[in-house]
């Protein structure tokens, strides 16, 4: 019972947060000197009438607070409105979300599968050759900017011809067999996955190593060892379970990054995901699209934290009795 009360309370807290986030972002976007019609204004063949029509259509002739309320009203009703080019925001997002999810879930899955064991290994074999090598590699991974690494990968693709230069599918994708389609998508995914994997792996591995080291240094591990438990039991039964707790919070943040975390890499690889769409939308001050993505990001972040909290309650008996 306590548990459900806690969750519903957390969900109720979301509402004022969403309102504040939407207010701030709406006003910042609208008060910036970006004009979604700037390009049309400088087009000699566009008449004054057309411009006036566009201003009316985009509600630009109304005061900002009126624009905000009309946006908020339709948002509450579940209508995300239209982009400045007249396409449905919901359709645009639906086209892109699966692509981004495909990329980010693969990356997150791989990172965690590889990153956690590597972190544990590095901690257990602290200051051995293996740990030193992992330290160097992960330092490089953390230091290299993602866009630069992505460009290097693109050059690699052009020079060798082994991988396609960006995108997600080849132009004759629809004529391929199922296996052909699978291979085609995989080939397109290899390079962006390598980039994102390398970069997030490094962070995760270091984090896990640090957690593990801290736990290994604690009194209860010393006690377990003194008790004469085997090293395997000490590490897996006692140390790991305690070291994993902070990682769960991190997983919550990873969840929030599912939709937005890969934007830069997506842009360089011309990956048809949300990143490219939203970057363009921000540049053109396409308010409905930007607002929809910001709201989505906020909700994902809150949801991620909530999931992490719930997971923590399950794994950590100390938290179970605590009231929210």
């Amino acid at each position: 019972m306590e548990f459900f009360k806690y969750i519903s309370k957390r969900i109720l807290q979301v509402i004022p947060l969403l309102i504040i986030v939407s207010l701030i972002s709406f006003f910042i976007i609208r008060l910036s000197p970006v004009d979604p019609l700037a390009e049309l204004r400088l087009n000699p063949s566009i008449s004054k009438e057309t411009l006036d029509k566009e201003i009316k259509r985009l509600n630009l002739d109304k005061p900002i607070y009126v624009q905000y309320f009309s946006w908020a009203k339709s948002f509450v009703k579940g209508d995300l409105g239209y982009t400045s080019a007249g396409e449905k925001v919901s359709t645009k997002l639906k086209e892109r979300i699966p692509n981004t999810l495909l990329l980010t879930t693969i990356v997150i899955f791989m990172t965690w599968i590889v990153g956690l064991p590597l972190g544990v290994l590095a901690a257990v074999r602290k200051e051995t050759a293996l740990d030193r090598i992992l330290t160097v590699v992960s330092s490089i991974g953390m230091a290299i900017p993602s866009f630069f690494f992505a460009i290097l990968m693109l050059i690699f693709a052009v020079k060798t011809g082994w991988f396609p230069v960006g995108g997600l599918t080849s132009y004759n994708f629809n004529e391929m067999s199922f296996a052909g389609k699978f291979v085609d998508i995989s080939k397109h995914l290899v390079l962006p996955v390598i980039v994102l994997f390398t970069i997030s792996l490094s962070g995760l591995q270091r984090q896990m190593r640090a957690n593990m080291l801290e736990v290994l240094d604690s009194d209860y591990v010393k006690f377990a060892r003194a008790k004469g438990l085997s090293e395997g039991k000490v590490i897996f039964k006692h140390a790991l379970r305690n070291a994993i707790n902070p990682m769960i919070t991190l997983l919550g943040f990873e969840f929030a990054g599912l939709l937005s975390g890969a934007a830069l890499t997506e842009y360089v690889f011309q990956y048809p995901g949300l990143g490219r769409l939203i970057l363009e939308a921000v540049m053109k001050s396409d308010i409905n699209l930007v607002m929809a993505s910001l709201m989505m990001g906020t909700i994902m972040l809150i949801l991620g934290n909530l999931i992490a909290d719930i997971l923590l309650m399950i794994t950590d008996p100390r938290l179970r009795g605590v009231k929210g």
Binding site: A38, L42, I46, S47, T50, Y267
Partner: protein
Amino acid sequence: MRADVPEKLPDKFVNQELKNIDYPDDEKNVTINGVDYLQSQAPVGKFGGELVISTIGEGPKTFNPCNTKDATSSSMAGLMYDGLLTTNPRSGKVVPLLAKSFEIDENDYTIHLRHGVKWSDGKPITADDVMYTFEEIVFKGFGNPSTMDAMMMDGKLPELVKIDDYTVKFTTPRPFAPFLRQLTYPIVPKHYFKPYSDKGESVFNAFLSPDTPPKTIVSNGAFRLKEYVAAQRVVFERNPNYYKINLKGEKLPYLNKLVYMIVGDTNNEILKFEAKEVDVLSLRGSNVARYKLKEPDSDYTIYNLGPDTGTLFLIINLNNRKDRNGKPYVNPTKHSWFANRDFRAAIDWALDRKNMVQNIASGVAEPLFTAESLNSIYLNNYIKGHPCDPNVSRESLTKAGFVNKDGILYDNDGNRVEFDLYTNAGNLEREALGVMIKQDLEDLGMKVNFKPVEFNSLVNKLTNTHDWDMAIMGLTGSPLEPHDGKNVWTSKGSLHLFNMRPSDYKVDDRLDWEKEIDDIFREGALKLSFEERKPLYDRYQTIIYNQKPIIYLYSPTRITAIRKKFKNIFPTPLSGLIYNLDEIYVE
């Protein structure tokens, strides 16, 4: 800087004309079994294959040809929908396309349609479709209303009558030269479009959005939509009902598929060309030299299509009006300089265009002195331009009462000559131009504050707040119809940037030469023949050249590479490289 390529192109390449190309004759009408085909006179090619092109940006916003507002959407919708008339790619003349022929008698334009030609779903194309397109879409201002605006004469639209199933007649209220070219507007199928247009404009504008199932789309162009994948590509396939045939009587187009890759920026486009994922690449700046060097042992050919319609210029604010609070838009002291023709001439003569072309455009551009672009059929060939000569500038300044003391220029009231020069930040070409212009003008003793600002802020300054001194800008002209520039040149135009008047401005404070240009544009639209119109538009270019409210700098040259396996490539300065997609084939 790369060292393995020449810094600048040999002049020979830049100026090379398309003189070795053996163009086919113009297309002819041929009637076979009662069907009026249009016959291509290009060499007979092979059917099959595909051409992959790239388009920069986020891809098409709509496939509704009546509602396109950006270049990508309109070129794609243009593939799918043909208009009654079209522009001859070589001569620029208006010639029949979907129409079989047309006659002009005073203000009457009679259009004869082809018998037996069909929409992609097999239904015949008749006068009803033409009537529908103009009466229920264009004249109502649905979608993009610019064609309606262009057809409007003194607030009146032309009349349209259906004579029989294959003949329609337009009557304009008075002679109006730009009218004929408006008939290149795409014709759409009444049976497919009407259910949507009947539901009002907002439904019509959302109609044929990119996610429309391709199979349901009814079109009449050479290609029909096969697939749209958001942010990746648009695939077209040949329309088997197309009415153009080759010399053997086989139905065109040759290509099975036409693929547009949607790429985010030019860098990605180049990578895709290098990786052989796209077949055509438009080259800019220093890339030209690199690709030209690799051309002999490559699988592509490079064509120089001559200067494009884009113009880069320095514009001077002549506005002497005041804003709502009574504050002048331009500081009155500065205005007194800008309003002085000798001051503007001094600036013009000080600018080293040759240097700009060589160092900023890597030689891939031509100096520009005229308001019409260099590939315009109305270009005033008597304006030869002038070299850069700071001595002429100094003479003009002295004549205008300016004094140079120790390298610093003062006006005759002792004010230091100092002004702001704007351009849009992020555009490397314009930023480099700004630096060079600043240098040239500071040699005359002026102080130039070069301020690149965000594009939207610049547009806002130019069109709305008017608080700027000079700016480096570019606009795209029309190579065929100078009247399209009326918004820029007529004194009440919405893009009359150098002397913007509010839309409700009543006072007639036009400068003498502004008056003359107004008259020219009014008269030029009334005259129908090229011979009558040419002297008028020559005159307006002379006025701009003499008065220099806008100082033109250069026009970029279009250089495009295409893989050698594509044949029937007949590039023209007017229409570019691959305008004849229905005739191009793969060897």
